[in-house]
Symmetry: C2
Subunit: 525 residues, 2 copies
């Protein structure tokens, strides 16, 4: 027993020493990083411009171009080097609206809370409302020839629940423990789509395109009390952003208003609506751009530490938490690093490269375009890498943030066990900021997947959930007011430290084995 105990003690000691010995933490740098990141944060100032002034930032829209110019100028003014745009595409056409209103004219007048789906064309008119209660192709036939010039309702009534539980949450011990104990992730099985349902949906949308109703309305699939979740218009085939594609005007209505309209139809009460959407298709060359900016390295300057977030957003608010928050934190991390380098005189060994991606909302398109240019050859028409380019070997890590405004509570390893002791050591100094959970688990849906797919260590941080999925993610309420400045400052501080520590260590970060030509994890949201 005693010998065993001794052995155990030795092992523990060895373990800690190993971490301490191998994984240096530069406390002096961290002190300066904290000063600029926590005490002199500019996060809310950056976020304010990015959202209130340069929001929303729909990919392909003129406002995204303005936001891009603003960000480039900011980064140059701060002292970032090699600030430039890298194009990717073709994306398809852009879209912006210059007027939108919807009104109900019968039984009484009321302004309808609704939003156009992105890429809906201009439309103006008044019409009756028809509820298409159809779930088979036979059902569809009944409506043939009857939809022209009408407003079409496609959704059933959704019951609204009051807010009996808080919308906004922070992690607690239980939720963090779940992440800490997450097993090595296994690839998710592909969804088994219901082909019958898919064929029905295609038939439905073909019919819509033939019949030319004035507008198709659905209700926000979640949200209530004035919060409406909206994304892009759909088509029977192809994508609504495809050049010259004819798109049926589509709108998402606040659930309370959608339900009111549908209930009145079911009562036999006539409902009339008026819509006026003025929208233009933009960006005829169909090419989009990521923003790239660097802090040059020194002795290992050919090796690169990347950090970034997607800069684009949906269109009904200002893209504050999705993903003004992530873009703000990454720009602020760059600013903190510039200030820290200036103050400390310590220059990064590897080059630090900030990337603000676009086209993320349509399927990680900007980061995938970047990967195509820099890291891998892909099978034609896919994002399945077939061979790796030399640059792939030079990227030590990519750090991403895209889960709202909540502060960092730790990091997801994406199944890369070998980085666990390194990240634990780097998180240790931020224990007082509540960031100390390391999860073997994956998190999906955003641009770190692009890196993971080509064998570059790509990570997202564990964030406080806040009201992200309940209220702001892809909603008309994704506005500046739902950002938390303290949380953004904390995240920028920790990420700046992670980036600098990744740049300063002797080795690049350990990689997972990468099996070439293996299908990538599916991206998009």
């Amino acid at each position: 027993m005693k010998n065993q105990f001794l052995l155990f003690t030795l092992l523990i000691t060895a373990c800690f020493s190993q971490v301490t010995a191998q994984e240096a933490v530069n406390e002096d740098l961290n002190t300066i990083i904290r000063k600029h990141g926590l005490d002199q944060s500019k996060a809310l100032e950056i976020a304010g411009w990015m959202t209130d002034v340069y929001g929303p930032r729909l990919t392909g829209s003129p406002m995204l171009d303005k936001a891009t110019s603003w960000a480039e100028k900011e980064l140059k003014d701060w002292g970032m080097k090699n600030v430039h745009l890298e194009s990717w595409g073709p994306f398809g056409r852009g879209w912006e609206m210059s007027n939108f209103e919807m009104h109900a004219n019968a039984p009484g007048y009321w302004p309808v809370i609704a939003y156009p789906k992105a890429w809906s064309p201009s439309v103006k008119g008044t019409g009756e409302v028809v509820y298409m209660d159809a779930s088979t192709e036979e059902d569809l036939a009944k409506f043939k020839g009857k939809l022209k010039g009408k407003f079409i309702l496609l959704d059933t009534i959704r019951e609204v629940k009051e807010i009996w539980e808080p919308n906004a949450k922070r992690h607690d011990a239980e939720s963090l423990l779940g992440l800490a104990n997450a097993p090595v992730p296994t690839p998710r099985p592909r969804r088994n789509y219901n082909l019958n349902a898919r064929s029905f949906r295609t038939a439905l949308w073909k019919m819509m395109e033939d019949e030319q109703p004035l507008a198709i309305l659905d209700r926000s699939y979640k949200g209530d009390h004035g919060t409406v979740f909206v994304s892009g218009a759909r088509t029977a085939e192809g994508r609504s952003r495809d050049k010259d594609k004819a798109v049926v005007p589509q709108f998402t209505v606040a659930v309370e208003h959608y339900n009111r309209i549908l209930r009145n139809l079911q009562r036999g009460v006539e409902v009339k609506l008026t819509v006026d959407l003025a929208a233009t298709y933009t960006n005829p060359d169909e090419m989009e751009h990521n923003i790239i900016a660097e802090i040059p390295g020194t002795d290992l300057k050919d090796e690169v530490v990347m950090f970034g977030a997607h800069f684009d957003s949906w269109h009904t608010a200002t893209g504050a938490t999705d993903n003004g928050a992530g873009s703000t934190v990454m720009m602020e991390a760059a600013r903190i690093l510039l200030e820290t380098i200036k103050e400390s005189g310590v220059k990064p060994r590897r080059t630090l490269r900030l990337a603000l991606w676009t086209g993320e909302e349509q399927g990680l398109l900007g980061s995938r375009g970047y990967a195509k240019d820099h890291f891998a050859e892909f099978a034609p028409g896919t994002y399945t890498p077939q061979s790796l380019k030399p640059e792939q070997e030079k990227i030590s890590a990519y750090y991403n943030l895209d889960n709202g405004t909540g502060k960092v509570r730790g990091i997801y390893l994406q199944g890369n066990e070998a980085v666990a002791p390194i990240f634990r050591a780097w998180l240790q100094p931020f224990k007082d900021l509540d960031a100390n959970t390391v999860s073997l688990g994956n998190t999906g849906g955003t641009d770190h997947l692009t890196f993971d797919a080509v064998g570059i260590p790509g990570f997202q941080f564990i964030q406080e959930p806040m009201a992200y999925f309940a209220r702001t993610h892809h909603s008309n309420m994704d506005n500046f007011d739902h950002l938390s400045g303290d949380d953004l400052a904390q995240a920028a501080t920790i990420i700046a430290s992670f980036v600098m520590h990744t740049a300063m260590r002797d080795e690049m970060l350990p990689r997972k084995a990468h099996e070439l030509a293996k299908p990538t994890a599916s991206g998009g949201k």
Copy 2:
């Protein structure tokens, strides 16, 4: 000790017997009432017409007239007698809108979430936005001559909090115990208005009326995530509903949008807004109407049990919880009583009289008009009773409901201790429906105060709070979807039983002492 114990036991027994003996509960009638009220409820059907079809019901508006006609017809169809309108007034002019939209045109385009305040006149135009940072009359002078054709912001930035606590609540033991233990209420002291602030506000509004800005914007004083609280327009002197009064167009903007506009001004970023409000003043005779309907009594038919709720609402939703809920419950209680009388053959001894009031939102005007016609002479230009009319003696009680969609958890006695044992006996059979708390306390702000002020026992029920004050009361989200059918059915059932028991007992309900010419409790909301 033993004798004392015996005495105590006797007293307790006497007490219970007294209640049981004096205060009959008709269980057979209650069984039938429950069948019609709980198992065969029509509450949601009534509420649906009252809100989705005939909402909103702003006093003076044509839609209120339509709603009134619908309610009259329903009540007649069900078999209510003496269904008629009783006019009160003059109220002032009515108002309705036939188009409203607001857009932001710079720095980018976005549709603004906003609502006109009721009685705002038509206005159409595009203009710059000015923040009036003024708190003294000297501050005002700086803006003189600079406001014409502009949009004026009057409010500061309001910080938005996420929903960390539930919005909707039901009572728990603790909150009910607080009500059960409430002391006999004492009159509230009159608010000590800050006369300086008042004089500043008057000067501010006079300046607005002189300068003729395009519109005055404030932010919703509470609410967020798309919920906007809006009521009526104000003036420097007089009321915006006064005939021929010139009103400056006024709008309430969702806090996130208001803050965005103001933050951009503070950043030096130009903001341009466009507004188009088409509104008409209606109701040139300025007279309004309460809806009255009766179920005739038998041997005591000259005595009356009244029950009612206000039927009018504000204008940005459909007046579902304020006070479609109360009006629905009272109409449904009438329907339950008609069915119960038909099925049981038991006719009420006293006459049952339903009243649906209007003008409540402007200061209990409809019920006060009714009191003026039936119950008291008031001092000129006031609602201070100076002498009582004979009818006042004939009203046994008035039951009111106006605190949203929540079910009944008990009743407020309004300081009338003598009714406590009676109400306790009547609530006892509804213990399984969670309605058993009797509070000596007051509840204010609505039409039972009118009765209390003229010495007629007037009561409101204790209701579940639900999301009433957090989300729906005077907001754009006061829609049908925020009603709870089960709660409305429970309330109608219990109130039907209370009304019937009040009609059947030998005596009228005991009254509090009434001191004539005592100023009435202040009403309005």
